[in-house]
């Protein structure tokens, strides 16, 4: 909502300065978003006429215009607008002018070799509207003002307020003045106007159909006959221009002015274009009309339309139609001042994707008692400016407005705000805001003003009182440093731990969007369901991610393009399994590309491989408190991993829930996304699948035992079939005698000479130690034999002699 201090002064008597005003507006909740000075610069924008155009010699879409800027001065201006043509009245900005929209200073410039002295402006460039197609077109009435400044001298700055959706009353200057006055900033000027008492008959019949979902509950109107529509008088034009609106014609300007002044949207029809009477009804599916924005709208069932015998005239409270619009030659005007239900307005506007000033106001709630005020104010002005006779007012309604009543306990104020104000002050604030206040023992009986649809219960009254008294009166109560519940639960602690644990292994933490490109998602979707976003920002962000890999691989690729070769990134965050709340999992996902020890003088460089990520996964889990000796690993992994070089990890051999996958990313994916790296390996740890440790560190630390008896180490080499897994061998040896076998290490794998082709040799180092005594040679011999026997029996291995 844009206002000026000058306009505000129509309603508010004050000697205070604009600086104080800006502060006070923000203090009472009418946030000042920006203040734009309409300085002398704006006087540079002149009314001008194009007297000749010719094609630009070097550009097809540009024209060179001769522009009459008054006092016999002709300027050559290069212009790209399609509507630039001989005879057009428009607005000219000379070099040196600052274009309001872009805030850039205009300079004499050569455009494709032709010098342009200034510029012809579009409405959007002047902040007059959003219209950026073509340059501003002024009506022929402006001809006599060629050379004069389009903007009048204005002392007042444009103050842009961000009005919250609960305050429709402040979408009119008067509402803002009322709030300011209540807060002690000036005095509200009484503008009680005499109602028009006319004897002229209202000859157009108006009817509101009583039907289900009727969006219009009251329709007031009057006829103004024999008017002469014209350009608005200077004061009115200046007023509209002062807040950046473009004057059109007196009748339209007056309805706009009343709307901005007292937040009462009106609509003016050319009464001669209405066939018989007006019927306000629900639309039928398939009905069509052309609105004042020159667009054709196809309506659905149940939209509130203003119609006549021939069909739809307009969408009630949203936009009028071209068929019944007023023009300069309009003789008889039907002025509408109605009440439309916010919900109905919103539904219709949303379905048709329409946004207008009237819609914005009606959907927030217009004062239902302002119907007559609006007719009064506008009809008088029309008569004053355009002449004509005003008819009797006709008010049709299907509902009668009743003021909302609230019983307010003044004690609630302190209970919520934490500070005190006197009852006297409470009453004064409420009365200044327009409430009717009656004392009833210890309570206040309040009637809510009709322009405040946002107020319906006691707490709303508290807000009004705190707001007007000033939020600075709220005390600071220091928080108490007391904790009754632990800050993080076990899962949150685990999240925190995994995050920092993975980062400590050389991975950069990334945060990427939860949505992704369908193409990338498909690479890593495996068997998961695709979850589409109905209204994505762009098609590349059209689905929720089924895996974090989709985003990470995309970003790894971008970083490779930036010239990085060895990269490790990870993200801990959600992946989605379905479109219902909760169908998501937290995954720690990491990717590593390139080499280890690239260009090292001391270490041999090598590609990153699956055992790098296996270490990262295992170490992370071990650090998080899981026992790696219990881990069970197999090679059943999703299709985006290299089928031979990837693994699936369970916390134990019950294989309940998958703790992690790790491995090389499938080479096909790298090929398809054209990724250039020596090697790409990754992992996924599924946080919710990690069983939370039951024992706390406290429990675990208490027990500490070790053996000081002599250790002995033995090496074994077994020849086994190639598909025998090291894990099986290790487990077999470990379980031979848990009290003696302390450690089992694979230290060599050999295939080749002296070993049958289908076999391999696995060399294993076993540490044997008793916690009860020193083992003698016999004991060791026994356990060695047992190990060999067990391994040979269980795995078909042969000890290599």
């Amino acid at each position: 909502m844009i206002i000026t201090f000058d306009w505000l002064k129509d309603h508010l008597k004050t000697n205070l300065k604009e600086k104080n005003l800006l502060e006070q507006l923000t203090n009472i909740g009418l946030e000042v978003e920006s203040v734009e000075s309409l300085s002398a610069d704006n006087e540079m924008f002149k009314i001008a006429e194009i007297i000749r155009t010719e094609k630009h010699p070097n550009a097809d879409r540009l024209k060179v215009c001769d522009v009459n800027i008054g006092e016999n001065e002709i300027k050559k201006v290069v212009c790209g607008a399609e509507n630039a043509k001989k005879g057009l009245l428009t607005i000219y900005a000379p070099p040196g002018a600052i274009i309001p929209k872009t805030k850039t200073k205009l300079l004499v410039a050569k455009i494709r070799g032709v010098t342009s002295y200034g510029m012809l402006c579009s409405e959007s460039e002047l902040n007059l509207s959003d219209e950026s197609d073509g340059i501003t077109e002024l009506s022929k009435e402006f001809r006599k003002n060629i050379g004069k400044s389009y903007f009048s001298k204005s002392k007042s700055n444009l103050i842009d307020l961000s009005i919250t959706p609960n305050r429709p009353d402040c979408l009119g200057v008067r509402g803002i003045a009322r709030d300011l006055a209540a807060s002690g900033f000036g005095k509200l000027i009484d503008l009680e106007e005499k109602n028009i008492h006319s004897k002229n008959k209202h000859t157009l019949k108006v009817k509101i159909n009583k039907e289900k979902g009727q969006g219009c509950t009251a329709f007031g109107s009057c006829l103004i006959t024999n008017v002469k529509n014209s350009e608005s008088p200077k004061w009115l034009k200046d007023k509209l221009i002062s807040i950046g609106q473009k004057p059109i014609s007196a009748i339209v300007d007056i309805t706009n002015y009343v709307m901005l002044d007292i937040n009462r949207p009106l609509h003016a029809y050319d009464a001669d274009k209405i066939e018989k009477g007006i019927i306000v009804r629900n639309s039928k599916s398939g009905e069509e009309f052309t609105a004042l924005d020159n667009k054709n709208y196809k309506l659905e069932n149940g939209m509130c339309v203003i119609t006549d015998n021939k069909g739809v005239l307009g969408l009630g409270g949203i936009i009028g139609g071209t068929r019944s619009g007023t023009e300069f030659n309009t003789k008889n005007v039907l002025l509408e001042s109605a009440y439309f239900e916010p919900g109905s307005i919103r539904n219709t506007a949303k379905k048709l994707n329409l946004d207008t000033d009237a819609k914005f106001r009606f959907e927030r709630g217009i004062d239902p008692l302002s119907i007559v005020d609006g007719l009064n104010k506008a009809a008088k002005l029309i008569k004053e400016i355009c002449g004509g006779e005003i008819s009797k007012f006709d008010i049709q309604k299907i509902e009668t407005y009743k003021a909302k009543k609230i019983t307010f306990d003044p004690n609630i104020f302190e209970k919520i705000s934490g500070f005190k104000i006197s009852l006297k002050e409470i009453i004064k604030i409420l009365e200044d805001l327009g409430f009717e206040v009656k004392k009833n023992k210890k309570r206040l009986k309040l009637a809510v003003p009709s322009w405040r649809p946002d107020i319906s219960q006691e707490v709303d009254i508290v807000e009004e009182l705190v707001r007007i008294s000033g939020y600075e009166k709220i005390k600071y109560i220091e928080p108490t440093k007391q904790r009754k519940k632990s800050t993080l639960n076990k899962l949150q602690k685990l999240f925190h731990f995994l995050q920092r644990s993975v980062a400590s292994k050389g991975y950069m933490e990334a945060i990427t969007w939860s949505f992704t490109d369908k193409r990338f998602n498909d690479y890593f979707r495996d068997t998961k369901k695709e979850i589409k976003i109905i209204n994505p920002i762009s098609s590349e962000l059209g689905v929720l991610r089924n895996s974090i890999f989709s985003n990470l691989i995309m970003h790894i690729n971008k970083n490779l393009d930036r010239g990085f070769k060895d990269l490790s990134i990870f993200e801990i965050g959600p992946i989605f399994n379905g479109s219902d709340p909760g169908e998501q999992n937290t995954v720690v996902c990491g990717l590593t590309a390139g080499k280890k020890s690239r260009l090292s003088w001391i270490e041999k460089e090598r590609n990153v491989d699956v055992f790098d990520v296996k270490r990262d996964v295992v170490q992370t889990l071990v650090e998080a408190g899981y026992d790696s000796e219990k881990f069970f690993i197999d090679n059943e992994t999703p299709n985006y991993y290299h089928p031979g070089k990837s693994g699936r990890l369970f916390l134990n051999n019950e294989k309940n829930q998958i703790a992690a996958y790790f491995g090389e990313i499938h080479p096909n994916i790298l090929k398809q996304i054209d990724m250039k790296t020596e090697s790409l390996v990754g992992f996924e740890i599924f946080m919710e699948n990690l069983k939370l440790p039951e024992k706390t560190l406290k429990d675990l630390k208490i027990k500490f035992s070790f053996s000081d008896y002599q250790k002995s180490e033995r090496d074994f080499a077994f020849i086994v079939n190639k598909d025998v897994k090291a894990q099986d061998l290790i487990n077999t040896i470990s379980s031979v005698d848990k009290s003696l076998v302390k450690n089992v290490k694979v230290f060599d794998i050999y295939e080749g000479e002296n070993i049958p082709k289908s076999h391999k040799s696995i060399a294993i180092n076993v540490t044997i130690q008793s916690s009860e005594r020193t083992l003698n040679d016999d004991d060791l011999e026994k356990i060695n034999n047992l190990i060999i026997q067990t391994v040979e029996n269980k795995t078909g291995a042969k000890i290599r002699s």
Partner: protein
């Protein structure tokens, strides 16, 4: 001259010469070996007359000690000379690079979440979470934002179904609803997390982070809200004093509602938080609307309290001088490395939030 003295003099003179380790060892065995000169003398002790035996034994021991000491010091000397000689050959260019290492980093948003959690932990808040996909009820209706409420326009919502029943949460406020439905008052929680709005330009990202705060008890009023936020902002920016402004605003789920600005100024191109005469909006808050409490079966005549929502990315930008919101999610390795934090830098109360 006694035998002992003879032996002593002879060997002292032998040991004073330049000897190598083998020669010394030979001397050692000549003296102390099984039939070495000294060992032989010891065997003689029993045959000596009783009157002289004591003196003989004592003299023998002294000589033994003297010679032994000399031998071991000679050996030490030789050994250390040998080590020194070896070290001479082992000089390397120590300025050559160390073995390579890689450094991981924690994303500034994660770090900021941990900082926020640490501050609120001190004053008794615990952390709650909720799903990214929400239903329409939790995200809007339960929060006193029924359909057709214009406030919904401020949330450009991503929907997952045509009926617009499932969506990506537009704020962390639905966690309030979930928490209150799940437990019984009092409530004192914060809920950090991802939030989504279909808005994308220089200053908006379709995904961003918020932290929700909720404190409901029997007599929590706006003074507690103001005190809590003032405490938080001071702690977060690690300053002693903060210029803070509460001003009225509107959110459907709080009444009264407020927005909070903090004072700042630009000094030498750097933003200084807490001073100056410019205002920067950093959060929205208010007293939880009785309608919201009713929706979650909490009796508004018995319980009341406040809620707030803060943009985490914005806080991180202010604190760490990050200009571009979009860069947070761009994964540029250089950016991550520059703005990221060492994983060991865990924000805690006792060692401070940041270094």
């Amino acid at each position: 001259m006694s035998d002992l003295k003879k032996i002593k003099d002879e060997f002292l003179s032998k040991l004073s010469g330049k000897l190598d380790i083998a020669e010394i060892n030979q001397i050692k065995s000549d003296l102390f070996g099984k039939s070495g000169l000294i060992s032989t003398q010891f065997k003689k002790i029993g045959t000596i007359e009783e009157s002289e035996r004591k003196k003989f034994a004592s003299d023998l021991n002294i000589i033994k000690g003297e010679l032994q000491d000399l031998i071991s010091s000679k050996i030490n000397e030789l050994e250390s000379a040998e080590i020194n000689k070896k070290l001479e050959k082992e000089k390397i260019d120590i300025t050559l690079p160390e073995r390579s290492f890689v450094q991981g980093k924690i994303h500034p948003v994660s770090q900021t979440i941990d900082e926020i959690s640490s501050i609120f932990s001190e004053i008794g808040f615990s952390i709650e979470e909720g799903p990214d996909v929400e239903n329409e009820y939790n995200n809007f209706t339960a929060l006193n934002t029924p359909e057709n409420h214009p406030a919904r326009d401020m949330h450009d919502t991503f929907y997952l179904d045509e009926k617009k029943q499932k969506l990506l949460r537009t704020h962390t406020s639905p966690v309030q609803i979930r928490t209150m439905l799940k437990d019984k008052p009092p409530f004192k929680i914060i809920a950090p997390g991802r939030t989504y709005r279909s808005d994308s330009d220089q200053t908006h990202s379709p995904m961003f982070h918020q932290v929700e705060g909720l404190h409901i008890d029997k007599s929590i009023n706006m003074g507690h809200l103001k005190g809590c936020l003032n405490y938080f902002i001071k702690e977060f920016f690690e300053v002693d004093k903060i210029k803070m402004r509460f001003r009225p605003s509107h959110f459907p789920f709080t009444e009264p509602s407020a927005e909070v600005d903090i004072g700042y100024e630009i000094k030498d191109g750097k933003i200084m938080i807490g001073e100056g005469n410019k205002w920067l909006e950093i959060l929205g808050c208010g007293m939880v609307h009785p309608n919201v409490l009713k929706n979650v079966k909490v009796d508004p005549s018995k319980f009341q309290g406040y809620a707030f929502g803060i943009g985490i990315d914005r806080l991180a930008m202010l604190k760490y001088g990050i200009n571009d919101l979009r860069a947070f999610f761009d994964c540029d390795y250089r950016w991550l490395n520059h703005f990221g934090f060492d994983p060991l830098d865990v924000p805690t109360n006792y060692r401070g939030l940041s270094r």
